[in-house]
Amino acid sequence: MAETNAGPMLAADGTPLKKSLARALRRQKLRALMLIAPLLIFVLVTFVIPIGDMLLRSVKNDIVADTLPATVEVLGDWDHDAQELPGDDVWTAFYVDMWFAAERKEHTRLGTRLNYELTGVSSLFRKTGRRVDRFDTDIYADQFVALNPEWEAPQTFAAMLDGPAADELPLTADAWARWKEFNVEEGDAVLEEDVPDFVYTALHYELSQGAEVTGASERLRAAAAAVGEFETVSLRDQFADADEDWLDPEVWKTIQLYSPRVTPGYFANAADMQVTPEGLESRPENQQIYGVLFKRTLFMSLVITGSCILLGYPVAWLLANLPMRVANLLMILVLLPFWTSLLVRTSAWKVMLQQQGVVNDVLVWLGLVADDARLTMINNQFGTIVAMTHILLPFMILPMYSVMQTIPPSYLRAAKSLGATNWTAFWRVYFPQSVPGIGAGSILVFILAIGYYITPEIVGGNTGTFISNRIAYHISSSLNWGLAAALGTILLVVVLVLYWAYDRIVGIDNVKLG
């Protein structure tokens, strides 16, 4: 029959069928969305956003630019190759920055951050922070006031630096602006406070550098003419006095290297490399720890997954083939570990495997091991593998069991009736059909293992710890969150790559949970 109506199909009410179908579907989708909305919001707020933020930390590096804004600006021009210390412009800017940092107690955080890159910087900043408001820079204030008593009044600075002179004296203006801000923070009125030394210092520096002040006030022009005669104090010496490490160009190189707000430094560190002005460079042999840790984590996770398959497969088979009542009992035994605390189970392994522990005692009692040569089975890789295999075993057994349960016994019977021995029937017919269960269990166990933390921490000793222990260390002890985030990001990428490879080789639709 020929279609008489060539146009689009119409629904009963005359709207195009496609449109009304889309509308009906949209309502369905909306309802579905509303059903998952609470969970979605919960996951977004408590999980995705914090993790996203965490991952951003692996490249974020605001602290240097935020704490030392003036220094970062002038230090950009410094030639680090010259092996010479930066000039007075840097020292002056740094003095201003340090003064605020010390007042706000931000210098220690900055020191800690830079200490990741150059050891010793932390104490350098701490010491300097204590000294910076006692620098001998008061002579500048005295000399300005001697020149003209008006220099003592904050109003003088306020008037001057709010006017056109600000353009000519950028550092002083900046210092003044930050001083005003600081007073607001502190709840003080800037016009009632004494003008701080660093403002005089900045002014002196800029005037002595020949700032163009011809159009400015009489007072400023007089000062500009007079600064040449002023008695000076070397900021460089002042800093060196606080800590002579300031005379080490390495410190300045590090500050310069880490001034940008985005840094590859954490990732480089996580990959056993370091950022140098010349580019990435691998760390000295004895400082390379993360590569080894990543390799060990992968290797041990694979071993744990393998032993879970070997131990779990027969159990899953039994579970799937026993009569219901017995199978339920066995199932309870499999699930029993879930009902006890992870910590308890791990500690139990410690008791079992330690040198004076149950296993060693039995071996000695049996005469298999000499009393003075008890086996070390804990605080090493062996202990971690044993304990984690035990703990993760249910995650292997359950998917395998649920897949095996769906394989009807008639397949095995059919194979046998066709002439296959028990082994051939199993290997050619049953096993291939149980592979999806193995796949699902393996992915589950492997991914759990690769990020496992508590068990390796307790029984891993030095040789059995995972990358996750290092991440935890950086999160909670060294507080190097950036590095922790970089390590975590790498771990995530590794897992995704493995997942992708698994999908290519085995096929992810070959994974069944039942």
Partner: protein, 366 residues
């Protein structure tokens, strides 16, 4: 009952018992023997032990007592894979991860047959079930009937002498089922295979088999060719299980040779053939097929007893008429008459007289 011992028996069950739980016998004292080339069907209600018998024969269950012999040799201790019995399972049990051709090659492979022989046999088996082009497909890509045919081909490809089939057509629609019934019998007869076939569809049993074993309660109730089973059931279970049947309760009044009279509950007397009643006074269940009931007095013996009946319902079924009557206080008495030109169409409420030849009405155990 059935002949238990015969010289040319290919498969033999001797006093076989089976219990799963040690409390109840699922199979009770099973005796069965079938010659080479026979197509035997086990028919019976659900739970009567048919599958259990098949599984014992195939070796997946062991008999609790008794002996099973294959070609004269006891097989109780031979493992399933050495019995060389082809089997078609109820759900086909085609290996889902192998193609059709691989499925068929499997029994040949485990017998270490060479590749070229294997391929030739697989091809021949596929052609036999008219599935030649489907060798490369997976079982999931086949229709139910096609899967069934592959399962059949797989059970036959290694040329077993005995094939067991457990309700292989259960999942198919009526038309396909009838077609497959025909195919299976054809192939089985062409190849001269001994077949044990399980079903609970009686039409299937009657149309396909050389002999049918009717199972109930773990026993063979009757073992006979289809026509005998239908026309001369040995007991009331078989009579009721096979085909449609009218039954009347009564007491034997008199037995004379192969003729007896039975007094029904309302006092009327009928003629019957004594099958398993032996003396007057015994309670009995008489059974008569609907199509053997006669309404025309002229066609009966002159001295035959007749019953009064009232027409309750007349159903026109095309080729036949089905009439429900009230007879001797029962309202489920059915007669069937052929739609012939001279056949009367009865009306509800009509009073008629019915009777039968004494040999068509069997007095069975009560």
């Amino acid at each position: 009952m059935a002949d238990t011992q015969s010289a040319d028996a290919f498969v033999e069950f001797e006093r076989v018992q089976k219990s799963y739980d040690g409390e109840t016998l699922v199979v009770k004292d099973l005796n069965l023997s079938l010659p080479k080339g026979e197509f035997l069907t086990m028919l019976g209600p659900s739970g009567s032990g048919k599958t259990t018998c098949l599984m014992m024969l195939a070796g997946f269950e062991t008999a609790t007592h008794g002996e099973i012999k294959l070609d004269g040799r006891p097989i109780n201790n031979i493992p399933p894979h050495k019995r060389g019995i082809g089997m078609v399972f109820q759900n086909y049990a085609l290996f889902p991860h192998m193609t059709v051709a691989e499925n068929l090659a499997f029994p040949l492979e485990v017998r270490r047959m060479g590749k070229s022989d294997r391929e030739a046999k697989v091809k021949r088996a596929l052609d036999m079930v008219q599935m030649g082009e489907f060798g490369g497909r997976r079982p999931a890509q086949l229709s139910g009937g096609q899967q069934q045919r592959i399962a059949l081909a797989r059970a036959l490809v290694f040329e077993p002498e005995l094939v067991l089939m457990d309700e292989p057509l259960g999942a198919l629609d009526k038309q396909l089922r009838e077609h497959m019934q025909f195919e299976i019998t054809r192939i089985a007869h062409d190849l001269g295979i001994t077949t044990v076939y399980v079903t609970h569809d009686q039409t299937e049993a009657l149309t396909m088999s050389d002999r049918v074993a009717v199972f109930n309660d773990g026993r063979i109730q009757q073992l006979a060719p289809p026509d005998q089973l239908y026309e001369s059931p040995q007991n009331s279970f078989v009579a009721q299980f096979i085909g449609e049947n009218n039954t009347l309760d009564g007491v034997v009044q008199e037995i004379r040779g192969d003729h007896c009279t039975v007094k029904l509950e309302d006092g009327s007397i009928i003629d019957a053939k004594p099958v398993n009643v032996s003396q007057p006074g015994e309670k009995t269940l008489v059974s008569i097929r609907p199509e053997r009931v006669e309404m025309n007095r002229d066609r009966l013996n002159p001295d035959a007893h007749t019953l009064k009946a009232e027409v309750l319902e007349f159903i026109y079924m095309g080729d036949i008429f089905r009439t429900r009557l009230r007879v001797a206080g029962r309202e489920d008495f059915v007669i069937k008459t052929r739609n012939a030109p001279d056949q009367r169409r009865l009306k509800p409420g009509e009073q008629i007289e019915i009777g039968w030849m004494p040999e068509d009405c069997r007095a069975l155990d009560a």
